[in-house]
Amino acid sequence: MSLLKDFTKGLWKENPVLVLVLGTCPTLAVTSSATNGLGMGLATTFVLVCSNVVISIIAGIVPKKIRIPVYIVVIATFVTIIDLLMKAYSPPELYNALGIFISLIVVNCIVLGRAEAFASKNNPVRSFLDGLGMGLGFTLTLTMTGIIREFLSTGSMFEVKVITGWTVDFLLPSSAPGAFIIVGVLLAGMNYLNLRRAVKQGKVYVPPQGMDCRHCHICDFGDKAGGQD
């Protein structure tokens, strides 16, 4: 039961983009079309799953003082692997469209965040499921954002025109400001749903903890400011 929860929490309850608000850079930058969002999400999922498993295995012997550099080396290795694999086997248009953002998965907060907050404290099986769930939650959000942006801007989905006769592109949704607006609306909608659900159950909605500054110890900012709650 708890294993299932490790997997499903990333999809909704602790969705990395819409609840934890991590990894917003690729979310805004590459989701101009549904295909790009899906490709980026799957690449990140691969890195997240692999790094989570490896880090949960080696976490027991990594000296505390240098754990962050070690995690970054592990993550960077898997990012380079997916970069090479995509260069060799993915459609060239997809690789060109994602471009630099594949390499930038290294600095994606979701990957390091899950390594520090989950994988380093849990066994490989749970870390694998956590990585898979978080990755798929990320992929779903990116693909959904991509579908909305692509549809609003060109009337197509996955590069197939759904509304024929939509010949002039609408530029706002496919540009960065439009991405901000759309992701903002999605965030608001997610918060509204969660709040309403909590109210119906007669509870107070508390966002998941563990990734805000009071609970994360990647830097010492939270330790300095913390304790006062």
């Binding site: 101009s32 240098i66 070690v70 260069k87 086997y89 759904v162 024929t164 530029l171």
Partner: protein
């Protein structure tokens, strides 16, 4: 003292070095494994682009190349297409740094007499919806045509209003400019910079061919 709690700088350094070494070995292995597929994929992309811009050929244009300078000193790679041992066309690959967002790379197919045949933009990072209208040759798929067999002719490329107007032109004709600058080429409203860059790119490749014609023909001519 346990490794996990150690603060000995030397031990920490060695640990990090070992991790780095393992990562480097893993990457070297993967890099070697993917080297051949990556080269094949790049080759494939070049070949597909060449097939689109050149008349039917029976040699390997990607292996039949010469690099020359265009009038502005930038490098242009010419590919020669042969059929039955005769030159039937050329493709020039060059780039122009004056796009709206960085360089624009293009492949221009030329007839044997130097007239432009087909223009293909191979790399760009222009504004989606404006600059890309100038650069993209994309087939518009709709839900109605999705499951129909395509009735596309062999070697045909999807139309593009801007790129298609260069077909049949020769470098020697009047300066190539967009109509806003007093030339005779149409431009895309909202993407004047991109239109200018693409026009300049095609012209520079055509001129590079015209200026180095003898050398290019001699190098790519095959067995006459």
């Amino acid at each position: 003292m346990k490794l996990k709690e150690t603060e000995n700088t030397v031990v920490l350094g060695i640990f990090l070095a070992v991790i780095g070494l393992i990562a480097a070995l893993a990457l070297a292995f993967i890099s070697q494994l993917t080297a051949a597929p990556i080269a094949a994929a790049e080759q494939n992309a070049t070949n597909q682009a060449l097939q689109k811009v050149l008349p039917p050929f029976d040699n390997q244009p990607s292996a039949n190349t010469i690099t020359v300078k265009d009038p502005d000193g930038r490098e242009v790679i010419f590919y020669g297409a042969l059929r039955d041992g005769k030159l039937v066309g050329f493709a020039g690959k060059g780039s122009n740094p004056q796009g709206y967002a960085g360089a624009i790379e293009g492949l221009v197919g030329l007839e044997a007499d130097g007239a432009v045949r087909t223009v293909l933009i191979t790399r760009q990072s222009e504004t989606p919806g404006l600059g890309t209208v100038v650069c993209d040759r994309k087939e518009v798929k709709t839900i109605f045509t999705l499951f129909k067999p395509s009735d596309k002719k062999e070697g045909a490329v999807p139309a593009n209003r801007i790129l298609d107007q260069f077909a049949g032109r020769k470098a020697a004709e009047t300066p190539w400019r967009v109509s806003k600058d007093g030339g005779e080429f149409e431009f895309q409203t909202g993407a004047t910079v991109t239109s200018r860059a693409v026009t300049a790119l095609v012209w520079s490749i055509a001129r590079a061919f015209e200026q180095n014609r003898a050398a290019v023909e001699a190098a790519l001519g095959g067995n006459k």
